[in-house]
Amino acid sequence: MIGILASVVDGVLVGAVYGLAAMGLTLIWGVMNVINLSHGAIIVLGMFVVYFLTGATGVSAYVGIPVVVVVGFVAGIIIYWMSVNRVIGRPILMSLLATFSLNMIIIGLATAAWTTSPYNVPVSLPGITVQNYTFTGTHIMAAIIAGAIAGILYLFLHYTRPGKAIRAVASNRDAAELNGIPTRQVLAMAFGLGVALACVSGALIATLFPFTVLSGGAYQLKSFVVTVLGGLGNPAGALLGGIALGMVEGLATPFTPVSWTPIIEFGLFVLTLIAFPRGIFAFTKA
């Protein structure tokens, strides 16, 4: 019994990080109707930023988080102007392919630079042990940071001028432009924000697990699942969706072989899409 509980708690902790990753994806979708297929590559970028940062300066990975945010934000803005700006408002296929091509470029360059060997960010934090089960400090810390960032994002979107501008642009781009909102800049900012979130989640994941240049693919798929659970375009839902996914994983493993987890995950994903196209946690915006 305690084993199951431990499994669920672990799932929730990791789920919060999945949620953070998905938040970046869902924000970008919500604002500009772009499904960012370079999401996985960007998560990997975050992993490497924190890897080189801790390697070069010896500071703790957590101290590096603000740097990751900045790097991610800047990278996001560059990516936006490079490949996303022109496909906004065009058929969904275009933006999917534009971001996918970006994924190819990033992965290609990263492989050339770093090969597909695994990397590891050494972090150690005291964990909490209950009976035989240990919840590692890194997991707990990652979940706390993920939750905090989600909170900050919510406040930003609802109580600051740039945040409201992002919502306005998401709601009606033409109108925003007519209201004097520089929409392209706002879109770039939103994209940068989404990328920054993905990068931070990558950095947090790097503190939990070793990673390779190709690790992003798995997290990207997980982000899709989370996004759909939480409701596309709904950052707050993404956190809940991530935690839900983590719980499902945690609950499933004690009872089924681990290799069945993806079946459960993606089965749930498809069923959720069919039953709730707007996501289980999609709030009817009041």
Binding site: S7, T111, F209, S259
Partner: protein
């Protein structure tokens, strides 16, 4: 034997006389320059290249009075099977490769073999450990490595000594190789009277082993055998440490063999790995360099200690060289016949191929060693702990 070889070579040299022709032999293969197998494949490629440079520096492969400089033609197979047949066809028909090395990993080997067999080209399989591949009716495919079923035999042997009643958890990657290893070992373990406490396979893309480790803890296992490749294996090792799974014995495939594994620090201590080869082994070769010579040369060139993939690459190529020289010809049929007869020890260990039509080309001479990461004077080192006659340190249980 070694002296004999030199005499033979000298004789060949004399027979050919000063008119020794500058011929080349082309060896074709695909490597995984990109994609998920890139890491292991690259080590292997380094082995190939070191061998080529050595051979060419010594004037090439000498056979039938001629001296053949070695030329490589290789392509990137992107770690996937899509283009393997296209590339091998191209290697054979366009690039006129006389001999082939296999791609890395069992699935790709099987795919490539369909092409090489059609053209009767000898293909040295390096990196395809799964026995299944050699039971499909191939005639020109020769396996360098010990087969998958033997990988964890050593670990079981150690457990037998230390704790014959051990409860074992099998946790392995869901890929052809790891699965074949784990399933063969599970049968062996049952036969030896161990309890199988848990059996779990995980997908290749798994990054979070938390749930599995909780399961391992719940199962009360003493030992964990399994793993898969580098990425997942190193993650598993680290999380086992982070989550303080109180296991007495952990043997993982492939991952801990890489020198990079030491970067895991404390998490690496005590982890053992079945290995085709370790630099410390003390085999006395009939042919080619000694283990120490090879390790030294490799380290000098690549600034990194060789793992078994690199050694396997070098030695696999060398077995081919040996057979060509024995056959005195680069005719594939003659070379294949010579390979069938091969019974030689190199720095990599013994090499002998099965000639049973049902498992032709399967490696039956080579044996594995078991290595373990241990702390020595505050530094992590990988020691050979099994078999007894090859060990460099005592088992840490």
């Amino acid at each position: 034997m070694r002296k004999g070889f030199y005499l033979l070579a000298a004789a060949a040299f004399l027979a050919a006389g000063p008119a020794l022709a500058e011929d080349t032999v082309t060896i074709g293969f695909t490597a995984s320059q990109t994609g998920k197998l890139n890491n292991d494949s690259t080590s292997q490629l380094r082995g190939f290249e070191l061998w080529r440079d050595d051979v060419n520096a010594k004037g090439g492969i000498k056979a039938g009075g001629k001296s053949y400089k070695v030329k490589f033609v290789s392509y990137d197979d992107e770690s996937q099977g899509t283009r393997v047949q296209q590339l091998y066809t191209r290697l054979i028909t366009q690039d006129k490769a006389q001999f082939l090395f296999s791609p890395y990993s069992s699935g790709l080997v099987a795919t490539a073999a369909i092409i090489s067999e059609q053209y009767g080209k000898v293909m040295m399989s390096i990196g395809g450990a799964e026995e299944k591949t050699y039971k499909l009716g191939n005639k020109y495919l020769f396996q360098t490595y010990t087969g998958a079923s033997q990988y964890l035999a050593g670990a079981l042997d150690v457990l037998k000594h230390k704790n014959p009643k051990a409860k074992i958890a099998f946790v392995y990657e869901d890929d052809p190789f790891s699965k074949a290893v784990a399933q063969a070992t599970r049968e062996l373990a049952k036969k030896d009277g161990f309890t199988v406490a848990l059996e779990e396979s995980y997908s290749s893309s798994t990054t979070d082993f938390g749930p599995i480790i909780n399961k391992v803890i719940s199962s009360g296992a003493d030992a964990l055998l399994g793993g898969g490749h580098y990425a997942d294996g190193s993650t598993l090792a680290r999380q086992l440490h982070d989550q303080k799974a109180k296991l007495k014995w952990v043997t993982l495939l492939v991952a801990p063999d890489s020198p990079n594994f030491s970067k895991l620090g404390d998490s690496a201590v005590g982890i053992s790995v079945p290995s085709q080869w370790e630099p410390q082994v003390t085999y006395k070769p009939d042919f080619g360099p000694t283990p120490a010579e090879f390790a030294k040369e490799f380290t000098a060139k690549y600034k990194i200690a060789p793992g078994y993939h690199a050694a396997g690459g070098y030695s696999g190529a060398m077995i081919l060289q040996h057979a060509i020289e024995k056959a005195g010809s680069i005719d594939p049929k003659k070379v294949a016949a010579e390979l069938n007869k091969t019974d030689v020890t190199t720095f990599f260990g013994k090499c002998k191929f099965s000639t049973d039509p049902k498992s032709h080309g399967l490696q039956i001479g080579h044996t594995m060693v078991l290595a373990q990461w241990q702390m020595k004077d505050g530094k992590l080192v990988k020691e050979v702990i099994w078999p007894d006659n090859a060990k460099t340190a005592n088992i840490m249980y």
